[in-house]
């Protein structure tokens, strides 16, 4: 489950950045709001750096009035394409996995008697 969680975290970050640019803690809090998605807050930063290295995310420093400078992350065009591709794949994948799991769950209910 941990690996699955790690695998989907990147697209989830891209999805949040698709709505608007966010700074680090903001992203962490939004992700943490979805139960079970984030194992530890710190993992977001190495992930953001990997996404940046892959050209899916950019960052810039913003100096807002009354606030200290913060680094805001934004999704790139390549990031949007990657996110769209993942959405399509995920929908199909989730349906497939869901179908198999539900089917097995149904079998599991009848297996004790049917197996004899």
């Amino acid at each position: 489950m941990t690996e699955l969680r790690r695998g989907v975290l990147g697209p989830c970050v891209l999805a949040l950045l698709e709505l608007r640019p966010r700074f680090g803690l903001e992203l962490v809090r939004d992700l943490a709001a979805s139960d079970g998605l984030l194992t530890s807050d710190g993992t977001v930063y190495p992930l953001l750096n990997r996404l940046r290295d892959a050209g899916l995310v950019t960052s810039e420093w913003r100096d807002e009035e009354g606030e200290r400078a913060r680094r805001y992350y934004s999704i790139t065009a390549a990031g949007q394409e990657a996110l769209a591709a993942f959405r399509a794949d995920w929908t199909q994948f989730a349906a497939t996995v869901g179908g198999v799991l539900n089917h097995l769950q149904g079998d599991a209910h009848i297996a004790p008697d049917g197996g004899r």
Binding site: G24, A32, D41, G42, T43, Y45, L48, R71
Partner: protein, 286 residues
Amino acid sequence: MGTRTQQRHPLIRGYLRELDLALAELPSEKAVELRQQITAHLQDAVPPRASADEVATILGRLGPPGELAADAAAGAAPQARTAVAVRRLGARLRRARWQSWVLAAIVALVLAAGAGRVIQFATAPLLQQGDTDGWVYARDYNREVDTQADEAQQTTVPIRSGQLQGLYLNVSNPSDFTETVLGLAPGSIPFGNAVVRVSEPNPEIDFGGAVANARYALPENVPPGQFRMVEVLWRSSLCLAKGAQVGIQQIQLRVRVGWLVKTDTIRLFAGFYLSGPSQGTCRSRP
């Protein structure tokens, strides 16, 4: 809004120190970037006047520094061992307390002072011949023949094979350090097994034997700027044919200067020579 005050919290300082150590495995630009991100995260996440429990909870949610670094390393290029070791050392130095720096500074000063002292010892001028030399025994002194050829002086006496013969010379210490004569360098005297001794201060010098009455010792110190008499004795063991000669133009002494033991080659004003034919007991030919 967070301030630098939060960064001074002991728990946060400890966490960042551990993070620095863990990030030593990463390329420096990656390590610096992640360090900045985590620092910024803490500035935003830790409220002013947060309690220790609150800080501990925030750090716990952030995850162990080792895991964070491992996560970051998964996407980074591998580092050369040396670079990693240097970065790790740098991280350790950065987390050292001020007492450690004071200790390191003291050690560095001591080492520098020691190195300076060694250089002084190594470059100090060694013992050199003074104004006096001659044969120790009157029997030789009375029979010496002084010659000069091509500006080279030589004093020659008949060899007395199987008997004690010897020479002395006055030496001075031109350095700023006490120099201690420890003995002769091996092979320095070709006439036979030789021993060297150094006189007490200001011996009475009388050519041809009186100097032998002075007190000699080994090892013996020669303080800066002072003179001492050096006596070299041997039992002549050479077999020389008529007209043959064997001699020395220099004497090599083992001398201790401070912490160093050096070989001091003292160039003699006049060469000391023994001439044949041998009389008495002789064992080897030169």
